[in-house]
Symmetry: C2
Subunit: 345 residues, 2 copies
């Protein structure tokens, strides 16, 4: 097989409700300028654009986001948008992307990257991706892993065979689902555990081979979908790529990524990034309201003796939430669903 070229695949299928009311069905999290002044998706595009020409940048996204993507990424070649027919978790979406890229470039090495995260240092990101691409040449499936700076219980962990070093890959011994706090603390102390950031680099043929072994139903569903069989996609098993392949794959290695990664998991996290960028109180007027951050305001917003809040001001809805409670925003979304207020979702 000839040495294939490197392609970047942006995964833009996420919906998510944690950033209500800014995130809506047609403007999911990756479309929002949560951290910098630019949408997360645009920052993701710029990161990979440093590494590959636009012809080899792909995006996987549902049909409803097409117009938004064309607006945000005018340079994306139109034939490089891979339509995700419906949300069936990351396993089928990644399989579809690999199969489509393989159809154009059978020996391609792909990097698959979520588009709703922050990576502060694009150069360090590029170095890690190049290291991973080298490691993937021989058919290894490579993850990028983040060194934990706290015992987070919201991420999966990669247990390495040895302490990982920057610029090197190490074998992954096993994947660990979201741990409890005790285990998470042990992982942080061990020095051999990295967060699974959902970023992968591999040869498309190697991945599809492994998928055919671990979840042949997904591989078949994708092939039949590409052959034009109606309804085939909806038979693909709903599984994350971790479950579907990585936990059972034969050769998996990880390259550590030390590039200021942040998954921006809540309004509180977004507020922290805003403050870091010096944008915390750029909207409106804060009087005795330290730690409060305003998002989305097109109006003048004044906070008085109202510290530690996130205020999200959109034309259709207003949210005021304590930063420490920002994961409870989903309760608002649930209530809106119960009330049938799809206009606000």
């Amino acid at each position: 097989m000839p040495r294939g070229k490197f392609h970047a695949v942006l995964l833009a299928g996420g919906s998510g409700t944690r950033f209500w009311p800014l995130s809506r069905a047609k403007t999911p999290k990756q479309f929002l300028a949560l951290a910098s002044g630019r949408p997360l998706l645009v920052d993701a595009w710029r990161r990979v654009r440093r590494l590959v020409p636009v012809e080899r940048i792909w995006i996987v996204a549902p049909r409803r986001l097409g117009a938004g993507i064309r607006r945000l990424l005018p340079d994306l070649p139109r034939r490089n948008w891979i339509v995700e027919p419906s949300a069936r978790d990351t396993g089928p979406a990644v399989a579809l992307a690999c199969a489509v890229v393989a159809a154009r470039d059978p020996g391609a090495i792909v990097g698959l990257f979520p588009t709703d995260h922050v990576v502060r240092d694009p150069r360090a990101f590029g170095r890690a991706v190049r290291t991973a691409a080298s490691a993937a040449r021989d058919g290894t499936l490579v993850c990028l892993g983040i060194r934990p700076d706290r015992p987070a219980t919201g991420f999966g962990y990669l247990e390495c065979a040895a302490r990982a070093q920057l610029g090197r890959s190490v074998p992954v011994r096993r994947f660990v689902e979201k741990p409890d706090l005790t285990r998470a603390r042990r992982f942080v102390r061990s020095g051999r555990h990295l967060w699974n950031a959902g970023m992968f680099v591999w040869r498309v043929d190697s991945f599809l081979d492994e998928l055919g072994r671990t979840e042949p139903a997904i591989r078949r569903a994708v092939e039949r979908h590409l052959a034009g069989r109606r309804g085939a996609w909806d038979t693909a098993t709903r599984l994350s790529v971790d479950y579907a392949v990585m936990e059972r794959a034969r050769r998996v290695r990880v390259v550590p990524l030390d590039a200021g990664w942040d998954d921006v998991g809540s309004w509180d996290a977004a507020a922290r990034l805003r403050e870091e960028a010096g944008l915390g109180s750029s909207h409106g007027l804060l009087v005795e309201s330290a730690g409060s951050v305003v998002f989305g305001a097109h109006r003048f917003v004044a906070l008085v003796d109202a510290p530690g809040l996130v205020v999200v001001d959109t034309p259709g809805a207003l949210l005021v939430v304590a930063r420490r409670s920002s994961e409870k925003v989903r309760r608002v979304v649930e209530a809106l669903r119960e009330r049938g207020r799809s206009d606000l979702l």
Copy 2:
């Protein structure tokens, strides 16, 4: 002198910044539905409408409020709007009203009432006004006084010669400016001190006589203004009616008013009244946000773990303020003035 008829004068000249951003130059506090579902001004109209025919209801208000008043009070006879040429405190405004009413009905007894307060019991209000009107027949200047239920330091007090009883008037010994907390506590204990609610009843001729004695410059300015002298109004001394007349008048009595009076002095007070009316959380969705109240929302508003706040949602500006700090809203207004944002004032 023939026994004149009773006229009601609504004082609607106040501007005030405490209810920003709902209160603006053209929609001052009295135009807002802060407590019930109706603007305070409309409630004030209805209260006096029970006592006098519309021909004898007057309003003192600046020119800029004309359209708003016609909209809210369509039954007000157009010739009964007394234009306050510019804000020069209550002394000149009350003098102007008395002089204009006197020109139509020289022996009139007038009741002068602020329009930005709440009076929960209009019947009790009517009884107190009738008692006051009787007491005013002999030329006495009569105040309505509120029995204090707390040692408020934001009001003036009337020291009575004896304990005041409902349905009776008692002589006022002296007017006391806003006291400090120690004195306010003593006043509450004394049982002989009532809050000065800025409501007065008197014969127009008696008041104008006293004014001519205590502040002849104001009386002259009003007369020259009525005679059509340009600029005369602007020579009227800026004084409250208390300073200009009441503190130095010869015969002053007070009738206690026990009618659920509230001056609605802050967003916190308005929030209390909303809750009392069962309207506290009628807008939007409150999750773990006890004691928070939303005003003015035309959008869906969600509060999450954000208790004890007032949220004021207007098309041009949004305010989030801790109820306990609602008097600090003026700092926002000051900042807007400094920034030249008259569009928001």
